[in-house]
């Protein structure tokens, strides 16, 4: 009797493990891989593969992950950096990503792109998934999910993404099978390379100012980012990336300048540093002024890298492993650039 019961329990455990295994396999298959068309979704996950303690961490939306090249920063100034950016990343997502980062390492400088101050609400469910699914499970991730979820979303679907992406069986592509078990890195320390050139032909009209002052929640999280940096003795730098649109209003600029002044933070608005950075909107953008291409990103990295190196105390790296890492990264980087 006892033996039979034990047999049943063993069998139940075996079946449970098998079911879990199938579940994981199915989940891996059906989850978007972000290896082909929408690579932005892969950025957050790739951070955990980056070795060593980074000197500089960038936070923000597409204006960050397409505006700086960590490979150039390393080559030119020996700065070991990582871009923890994501598409339409909201400021609370930036904050929780920073908490997540600080659990792994404490950098010397954190650079935050202020464009996300315009979003007092989650931008869309799809962007939530791209910014949050790649995060490793931690208290920070749970808080990020809770703060970001739209009404239609459930926490359970983050815990088991299969519940969200179950319907992708209709649209499975060869990429899904290729990267079923293991994905490749598509970014260069969080930098998403764009090699195309689409010159600016018409400067877009100023978009109407829908809200003059930033939402309270944005200030709340900006304060949180600032305090977290202070507590960890990390220099916080604010920046606005060079981009012709979405339009950066004067009213917003004043508020950021006022905030930076109030708390003694450095603030760089690259929109006003066109001459200094050398950005040429005829050849340094791949989408007519919305984002920079690799040429623009390298120019901006050279300019900002110098500031970072001269103005802030950054570590000197003699690590052979890191050198090797960047050598391999550079090789892949150049290959993609040539494409």
């Amino acid at each position: 009797m006892r033996r039979q019961r034990r047999k049943k329990i063993c069998l139940a455990i075996c079946f449970l493990v098998l079911t879990m295994g199938i579940f994981v396999l199915l989940q891996n298959l059906l989850m978007p891989k972000y290896m082909g068309a929408i690579k932005e979704g892969a950025l957050v996950r790739e951070y955990y593969d980056s070795p060593g303690n980074h000197d500089v961490i960038f936070l923000g939306d597409c204006e960050v992950y397409e505006s700086f090249s960590p490979v150039t920063l390393w080559e030119e100034y020996g700065i070991h950096s990582y871009i923890r950016g994501g598409p339409s990343q909201t400021i609370w997502q930036s904050y929780y990503l920073l908490e997540d980062t600080f659990a792994k390492e404490i950098p010397e400088v954190v650079v935050f792109n202020v464009l996300s101050m315009q979003h007092g609400e989650t931008v869309s469910e799809a962007y939530n998934r791209m910014n949050l699914d790649g995060m490793r499970w931690s208290a920070a991730k749970i808080s990020a999910i809770r703060q970001s979820m739209t009404e239609e979303e459930t926490f359970l679907s983050y815990l088991f993404p299969l519940l969200r992406f179950h319907d992708r069986w209709r649209e499975l592509e060869p990429e899904d099978y290729k990267y079923w078990m293991k994905r490749e890195n598509v970014s260069y320390n969080g930098y998403l390379m764009q090699t195309g050139v689409k010159p600016v032909t018409v400067v877009p009209e100023k978009t109407p100012l829908t809200q003059e002052t930033f939402s309270d929640i944005c200030y709340e999280y900006l304060d949180k980012i600032r305090r977290l940096c202070e507590e960890n003795k990390v220099e916080l730098v604010l920046m606005k990336a060079p981009s012709l649109y979405p339009y950066w209003h004067e009213e917003w600029e004043e508020q950021i300048e006022e905030y930076a002044e109030k708390f003694g933070l450095d603030y760089y608005n690259f929109l006003e540093l066109k001459e200094e950075t050398g950005i040429d909107y005829q050849m340094d953008t791949y989408d007519a002024g919305l984002h920079l291409n690799v040429s623009g990103a390298e120019k901006l990295s050279r300019y900002f890298g110098k500031i970072l190196k001269e103005r802030y105390t950054l570590s000197e790296h003699q690590d052979q492993k890191l050198n090797q890492y960047y050598k391999e990264l550079k090789q892949r980087y150049e290959e993609e650039k040539r494409k």
């Binding site: 069998l11 098998l18 199938i22 179950h166 319907d167 209709r170």
Partner: protein
């Protein structure tokens, strides 16, 4: 649910009661009032109602009056009232008749009457004899019963989430715009709605009966392969059995043997034997089907639907001698040969189409429109149909087709034995494959999550 088997048997019902409160806590005010009034009145009646006709009449007037009041004067019924209301009436009738021993514990009786899985869409429990008071006896955990319960719950979820909810938008497209979707679309809509309703209703009942099975409660089946019925009467003995049984037990039989009916019948029988013999059956049938229609909804099309069923069943009854003569003339049709099998298929298809036709009133919710749409099948059939506007992809049709095939196979098993018994007869590996297959097909192919509309069970709306 786990606590149910862990706590001492004496208080086994308490975790269930707490779960019930938790699940019902989000109900609206009216639903709570209806539950409270029903439970309170039924408990009071159970204490004093045995053999007490005046109290029974007062109770029935109040309980049925409340149900009718909500049915007629409000747009939506309080949650589950259509089900536990009938159960309460049935229970009280059994108490009055002395067929059941009422539970002295009011909370446990409340739980038994309003058990959560049965509130969604039944089945309507038969509360006579030992069928009531099942929570009073201790229940012991059974591995096999749990396996059967899980299989049945998953099977029910699969029918609801993979088949019914997948086909539902296509049905809605065809019903929403009757000006455009005429002719062949009406026929297609009839067939699609039949699949949707069957998968939805039987799926919900499978979930309820699966949960009940896990809890060790013995409830009757609500369906017995209804689409193999050879006539409408048989269909109603196989479809929504619990409602049919309730109507038969508490309306048909009491009316047919009631004093005024028998008196009128005997009076007429003296002048016209045949008519007099028919009076009790006809009166009881008409009242039963009127009540059945009203139970589904107070709108005219439900009443029409009920009376149309009644009309066809009574006509079939009248034509029975002619049928018998026909079958005697062609004995191969009812024998055991191939001809009989094909004739059986013909009868089943005929009944299926008849049922679909009657259900069109439920789709169009307007008797006149239903007739117009029906005639358009013949007048506009030549217009042809395109599946594109229905919004289903080829993969959806494949999934629905596979689902129908599995429902047919389970139906075949059910004809011979209980599917739960068949399930237990399989080897451990096969049982696991069935459970895992169901689980993952729900998970992957189920209609849920972002981009999909969550749909209530159809019969939860009565």
């Amino acid at each position: 649910m786990l606590l149910y088997y862990i706590v001492p048997k004496r208080i086994q019902w308490i975790p269930l009661f707490l779960l019930q409160i938790l699940l019902l806590s989000r109900l609206d005010r009216f639903s709570w009032i209806a539950i409270g009034v029903t439970v309170f009145a039924t408990y009071l009646f159970s204490r004093v109602g045995k053999g007490n006709k005046p109290v029974l009449i007062v109770y029935l007037v109040c309980q049925i009056g409340m149900m009718l009041g909500f049915k007629i004067f409000t747009e939506t019924m309080p949650f589950g009232l259509s089900y536990y209301g009938l159960m309460a009436v049935g229970y009280s009738m059994e108490v009055y008749r002395g067929n059941t021993n009422p539970d002295k514990n009011p909370l446990r009786m409340a739980l038994e009457l309003t058990l959560f899985p049965l509130l969604i869409q039944g089945p309507i429990r038969n509360m006579s004899g030992c069928r009531a008071g099942q929570l009073q006896t201790p229940k012991y955990f059974s591995w096999h019963r749990t396996e059967q319960a899980v299989a049945r719950i998953l099977w029910g979820c699969m029918k609801k989430m993979v088949i019914a909810d997948r086909i539902a938008p296509a049905v809605e497209v065809m019903i929403r715009d009757p000006q455009i979707y005429t002719g062949g679309y009406v026929l297609l809509g009839m067939l699609f709605y039949a699949v949707q309703l069957y998968a939805d209703f039987t799926g919900g009942i499978d979930i309820a009966l699966g949960i009940a099975n896990y809890l060790g409660l013995n409830l009757e089946e609500n369906f017995q392969v209804p689409f193999t019925s050879k006539n409408l009467g048989e269909y109603w003995r196989r479809w929504h059995i619990s409602l049919g049984e309730w109507m038969k037990e508490y309306i048909f039989y009491p009316v047919s043997v009631s004093w005024p009916v028998t008196k009128i019948a005997s009076r007429i029988r003296k002048k016209n034997r045949g008519l007099g013999r028919r009076i009790p059956v006809y009166t009881a049938s008409i009242l039963t089907w009127f009540a059945t229609g009203l139970w589904h909804g107070s709108e005219a099309h439900f009443i029409f639907w009920g009376m149309a069923n009644c009309f066809i069943i009574l006509i079939s009854r009248e034509l029975k001698p002619a049928y018998d003569r026909f079958h005697r003339r062609f004995p191969t049709l009812t024998g055991e040969g191939k001809t009989a099998v094909y004739y059986g298929y013909f009868q089943a298809v005929r009944t299926f189409l008849l049922v679909c036709l009657l259900r069109m009133t439920d789709c169009y919710r307007d008797v006149g429109l239903t007739f117009r749409m029906f005639f358009s099948i013949f007048t506009d059939f030549g217009k042809g149909i395109s599946l594109a506007p229905l919004g289903l992809a080829v993969s959806d049709y494949l999934l629905i087709g596979t689902g129908i095939l599995f429902m047919y196979l389970v139906g075949r098993v059910k004809k011979k034995k209980k599917p739960e018994q068949w399930f237990l007869e399989q080897s451990v590996g096969v049982r696991y494959l069935i459970l895992a297959g169901l689980f993952f097909s729900i998970l992957v192919f189920g209609i849920y999550g972002i981009g999909y509309e969550q749909r209530q069970f159809i019969y939860n709306q009565v």
